[in-house]
Assembly symmetry: C2
Homo-oligomer: 230 residues x 2
């Protein structure tokens, strides 16, 4: 592929500067990228070493096995990606629904101008690794759980602040994460981000809640439509 990627400029011959953090980070960068693009099993350590400009010895020093490397990618990079792409924007949004909408639209727009769809980092690895290996599975499940919890907590916060009617927080969170994950799966397979917008449109019509809510409201006033049974 691209000839020289890194290798540190190191002016002249000889002399080496140890930079364990930097090297570890470079390996993680390349591994994250390669695992997303080709998958875990289809990425060889030789590819990664070449792409990162790292020798076998160095790689083995920081990550004893390929599995350890992937686990680090999941726990450090994938978890961070979900946090930064989903959790923080939703927390910062004026409401859960608005946050979800903003994330969907931001992502869709980014993918459309990117020209290709690589899929959701979490789901990509989850599908390939979660059933075969318990360690991978648990690490990935934790990320899913944190993602859902963040959305559900936001709904609860909205409710305590007066907004958002009887929406079940956990149910809304599960559906949101599922809809996004599935939409990304389709977008990746079709190489078209349009389905993200379709799913968002559908999501926004979920249980518009008995209280406020602009144009698409009205009705929903019957007698006792939903018992507090939950």
């Amino acid at each position: 592929m691209s000839a020289e990627v890194a290798k540190r400029p190191g002016s002249m011959r000889k002399k080496r500067t140890n930079d364990p953090q930097g090297m570890r980070c470079r390996v993680l960068d390349v591994a994250e990228d390669c695992f997303q693009a080709r998958g875990y099993h289809a990425s060889s350590l030789g590819d990664l070493m070449a792409a990162a400009g790292v020798t076998g010895g160095a790689l083995h020093h920081h990550f004893p096995t390929k599995k350890a490397l992937a686990l680090a990618v999941i726990e450090e990079r994938v978890a961070a990606a979900v946090r930064q792409t989903w959790i923080e924007p939703v927390r910062a949004a004026p409401s859960a629904r608005e946050g979800v909408r903003a994330v969907f639209e931001t992502l869709a727009a980014a993918l459309e101008q990117q020209g290709y769809v690589r899929g959701c980092p979490l789901n990509n690895l989850a599908h390939e690794l979660s059933f075969a290996d318990p360690d991978f599975r648990i690490a990935l499940a934790d990320i899913f759980a944190g993602w859902r919890r963040a959305i559900a907590d936001k709904v609860r916060a909205d409710q305590e602040a007066g907004g958002e009617g009887g929406t079940d927080p956990d149910r809304f969170a599960a559906l949101t994460v599922a809809a996004y994950s599935g939409a990304m799966s389709m977008a990746k397979t079709a190489q078209d981000a349009g389905v993200l917008r379709e799913c968002l449109a559908g999501l926004e019509r979920v249980e518009p809640s008995p209280s406020q809510n602009g144009p698409p409201a009205r009705r929903r006033r019957r007698v006792l439509r939903q018992q507090p049974i939950r």
Copy 2:
């Protein structure tokens, strides 16, 4: 794993009975199972040969390459699984919404008593293969498209029959497929099918449409219940 799987009883030594269809089917069975459980790249042809009781020559005769085998699994088995699990039940249901609900509940119940969650066959392969290889991608995208089309067509049929208000058929189909795919992804990662029920509950609150909506059953007798369109 399990010692002897097949190998044809063949009473005594000598004598062979050619059964190209049967052998092809056995290979496909094993490949489908193995690809779902371990993934494409993690399944070696040696594993498949041993599990199916097939020699290298026979395997190579029916499927020249591993990719050809996977393509056959996708086009014949995965497509059939989606047809049988989703498309036919939804078509046969009294309405799109009821069909979707029935499929979700059937699947959730089956997974719960199965004890483990292997994930959606289509999504499993789509995540691992669709971005890296165009041939795989197109084959998988076609299945997704057929799945969505079947649901959308059912909604349209409901509308022409008088039921189902202003629900956008394509939007509803996209959200349904996405929610199911994503829910299965989470269920597989958490090894818990409960999230399927949560997502179904959320899905059923999508755009209940300006017309009817109440206890989920009853009704459906109106004037022209089901046109002979079939």
